[in-house]
């Protein structure tokens, strides 16, 4: 707990502090039992697994690091940060733009659809738990099909309503994404549970570094350099047999 407070104070430029209850609520949405379907998406990793290039823990860690630094940091994580600040200003027009950007930057059809589907599941699950008129306003926009409802933007709005700070919002999102990939690799490669635990443990320091990096970026940095992963995600649609939807 002490460590968390330290992290929190080093990002004291954000007004919100992480209260015990909001921390618990954040933990709950990132629990693997939280029904948003993250166990059904590999975001292109399954293509690599089928091509037999993710066979060792080291290869899995390398894959996750590239996904973290070259996809998430400059993509969804940056969009979460921007959505969080836009939500604070109640700037619906900006959020609408971010939702469009979030889809446009995901060129691979399955990754784009995964982002919308996970977003829908997330909204369905959190809406009854939160008393946030602004979140419900966004839900109505999704229901009226005025926006697609991409997960990253929605998650940014949710975290702002929850009262956590933007750093923790971004960092826990990336933790959950990487943890999801590792769990899926454990099932698909397959690896032993301990290998998965060790891989994720090795990645934690990079998750923190990635979140710190996101805080220094602006929307000009929105990019996806992980062209290999994107191509793998495009190819995933055409694989003969698949464990995952994306």
């Amino acid at each position: 707990m002490k460590q968390l407070n330290d992290v929190s104070s080093s990002h004291s430029n954000t007004v919100d502090t992480l209260t015990n209850l909001s921390l618990l609520r954040l933990l709950q949405v990132h629990d693997s039992a939280f029904p948003i379907g993250s166990y059904t998406h590999s975001y292109g990793m399954e293509t690599y697994i089928q091509e037999d290039v993710i066979r060792t823990k080291e290869q899995l860690v390398n894959f996750c690091k590239v996904y973290l630094f070259h996809n998430l940091v400059h993509g969804d994580a940056l969009l979460i940060q921007e959505a969080f600040h836009a939500a604070k200003r109640r700037d619906v027009a900006r959020l609408t733009e971010l939702d469009e950007l979030c889809g446009a930057i995901k060129l691979a059809k399955e990754s784009r659809e995964a982002s919308v589907n996970v977003g829908k599941q997330f909204m369905r699950t959190v809406a009854p738990l939160m008393e946030s008129p602004f979140l419900l306003q966004w839900k109505e926009k999704i229901d009226r099909e005025e926006v697609k409802g991409h997960y990253a933007v929605l998650y940014g709005i949710y975290c702002e309503a929850l009262g956590v700070n933007v750093f923790h919002a971004v960092m826990t999102f990336m933790y959950a994404s990487i943890s999801g990939l590792v769990q899926n690799a454990v099932r698909a490669v397959p690896f032993g549970q301990n290998t998965g635990v060790q891989a994720l443990h090795e990645l934690l320091v990079f998750v923190e570094e990635a979140a710190t990096t996101v805080m220094t970026l602006t929307m000009d940095d929105l990019a996806n350099n992980a062209l290999g992963i994107e191509l793998a995600s495009m190819k995933h649609e055409f694989l003969f047999a698949r464990l995952f939807i994306s």
């Binding site: 894959f63 590239v66 070259h70 400059h74 929105l222 990019a223 062209l227 290999g228 190819k235």
Partner: protein
């Protein structure tokens, strides 16, 4: 300080504005404004085909630190244009640290059709380059756009020796952003051969296809076709019901050029 570093060099600011319209059944280049080193050829026609083919020429031989190119293309309703760059775009070493920038803006009106043939951009060692491409089109218009990014002058052993290469490609249909392809390569900070980045590849090829007829294109057949060449990685994806993106990651320029042109012509004949 900047002036001193420039050593008296005046940067090039190339401008090329082209407006196309249908006149007596043929697409004509009715408006052209050119500022060196950019220049457009006159329209060329193949037999009775009303499509105007125009070459974009760059008389300086390449872009040097701080140079800027602006290309603006407008197609009036029902006009049909094929644009070809005369040669590969070379980006010279940035001796002053300044970035070369290129901006391409395209507007396609109802039922207009633009083909932008794939050409290679080559960032030399220490080059800095930034390209912004923005396309606005209608649902009834057609776009086939190809491009290739090289790792450098590979034959001279220059592979990822440039400083930065940033590309932002925005595609709007009826005002909605349907694709935003954005990458920022910094070879000194990135190990391209890592899993998930470029892996064994050196060249990046992209094709963007938007047309009302895309909905009839069998995407699985295109995927089978694009995957036949085994020496490179390639795939197809749908951006919307009427837009497709193809991407190649290739080791050899020669094979990539052959493949991307083959797909380009295949789709061009279909749409």
């Amino acid at each position: 300080m900047k002036r001193m570093l420039n050593l008296g060099k005046v940067n090039h600011f190339g401008k090329l504005e082209m407006g196309f319209e249908v006149r007596r059944g043929y697409t004509r280049l009715v408006h052209v404004y050119q500022q060196p080193p950019l220049k457009a050829s006159r329209e060329l026609y193949e037999g009775n085909n009303p499509t105007a083919t125009v070459f974009i020429m760059e008389s300086s031989g390449g872009m040097v630190a701080g140079d800027r190119n602006e290309i603006s293309i407008k197609l009036a309703p029902e006009s049909q244009v094929r644009l070809k760059q005369q040669s590969a775009l070379k980006i010279y070493p940035s001796h002053t640290g300044e970035v070369c920038t290129q901006a391409i803006t395209v507007e396609l009106e109802e039922e207009a059709r633009l083909e932008w043939l794939p050409e290679v951009t080559i960032p030399f060692e220490r080059a800095k380059f930034q390209v912004d491409t923005t396309i606005h089109m209608k649902e009834s218009s057609t776009l086939i756009w190809g491009e290739i990014v090289a790792p450098g002058r590979e034959m001279r052993g220059e592979i990822f020796d440039y400083q930065t290469f940033q590309s932002k490609y925005k595609l709007y249909v009826e005002g909605t952003l349907i694709a935003f392809d954005s990458f920022h390569f910094k070879p000194q900070e990135m190990n391209f051969s890592t899993i998930g980045l470029l892996e064994q590849a050196l060249y990046v090829g992209s094709l963007w296809i938007v047309s009302p007829l895309v909905k009839n294109l069998p995407i699985r057949d295109l995927q089978d076709m694009i995957q036949q060449e085994k020496s490179l990685q390639a795939s197809v994806t749908k951006l919307t019901d009427q837009a497709i993106h193809c991407r190649w990651l290739a080791k050899e320029q020669r094979i990539l050029i052959k493949e991307i042109n083959c797909m380009f012509e295949h789709i061009s004949a279909y749409l």
